[in-house]
Subunit: 225 residues, 2 copies
Amino acid sequence: MNNSKPVIAILGGTGQLGTGLARRWLQAGYTLIIGSRDLEKAEQAVADLRNVLAERGISSADVQAMDNCSAAECASIVTLCVPFSHQESTLQSVKAMLEGKILIDVTVPLVPPKVARVQLPDQGSAGQIAQLLLGDGVDVVSAFQNVPAPHLKEDGPLDCDVLVCGNNKEARAAVIELAEAAGMRAFHAGPIQNAAAVEAMTSVLIFINKQYKSHAGVRITGVDT
Amino acid sequence: MNNSKPVIAILGGTGQLGTGLARRWLQAGYTLIIGSRDLEKAEQAVADLRNVLAERGISSADVQAMDNCSAAECASIVTLCVPFSHQESTLQSVKAMLEGKILIDVTVPLVPPKVARVQLPDQGSAGQIAQLLLGDGVDVVSAFQNVPAPHLKEDGPLDCDVLVCGNNKEARAAVIELAEAAGMRAFHAGPIQNAAAVEAMTSVLIFINKQYKSHAGVRITGVDT
């Protein structure tokens, strides 16, 4: 593995958002581990990623498949890309491997069937659930919830920004660097409590997408970066 | 008064956001009433508005000052622009005058001193507080929380969008028309529960403004309007 950049694991990395981020990070030269509860699914996702990268002339992508626990153990930054209903169980299963690391929480607390309606959890946000569950030894950073996943498949910069919330500024800065490497502007957006704004905005974007037949994203205006 | 367009009252209309919206709506030909608990403050705001409009060559602005109750009584669309700590008492005082009308709630549930931290109320959002308090006879529409007020003083289109939440689609459409008249794009953003996303985003924008020394706003991307 390449040690000049952090090794990134994506747990639940077999969906559209996880594989889209993985592909962009691989193209930026990061080492990736695709994690899944089901190793075969992770292997299939890695094979698909290799094909997509080969189409772009990249034959040496540094990516492998693992079960979620091994993926969390082997990475220094771990990204959680699972449905809200699996957030707590997945975090419990990898908690011991996350000490001293950054956990990027992409969880959106959608409550089916009304996913276009904001229904935040009692704890305030999925980001706060993760931070409470993992304790202060893990830097939870909430990000990427508002990225319109279909556009991740495209090449070049994305017309959406990433709002990065977490209690540790250096950890936020590391995730901002990853967002930029994936083709997005990203902003320090405050402590982990502020994840509520971004998570709730996802339901607004789902509503807008239904209403206007779009793949909407969010941009911050009025800030020079 | 001019009856071709709805008469708009702005309660707590003496601040930067209220007078900024009032000026833009007056320039678009609406009839405005500036309401305040303190009639003298409302009269001063109206005098200031007349001066600002005179500088732009407009001498016949249709605007007057009233106490909040009279303002709510005389208007068909009532805008609430007061601090969160005055939201409930102001709504209680004008509740009887709002039946059958649209109440535009601009309240952001900031909890000083940590206004850059999301701290949503137990009811979910200030918008839901207003709808619960006023009952189904009033169409509460939540809007304008994310407008960077300093930019309202400028002329021309604003580089921010308005997310419009409320349970009645026609009422949302009326508020979208008002946002557009004031120089902003506006979107149907879902039921009143979704106000939580927009209200919470205000704390994120306050954090961003401190961090990046900006007057940040939000734009929706990927939607043709």
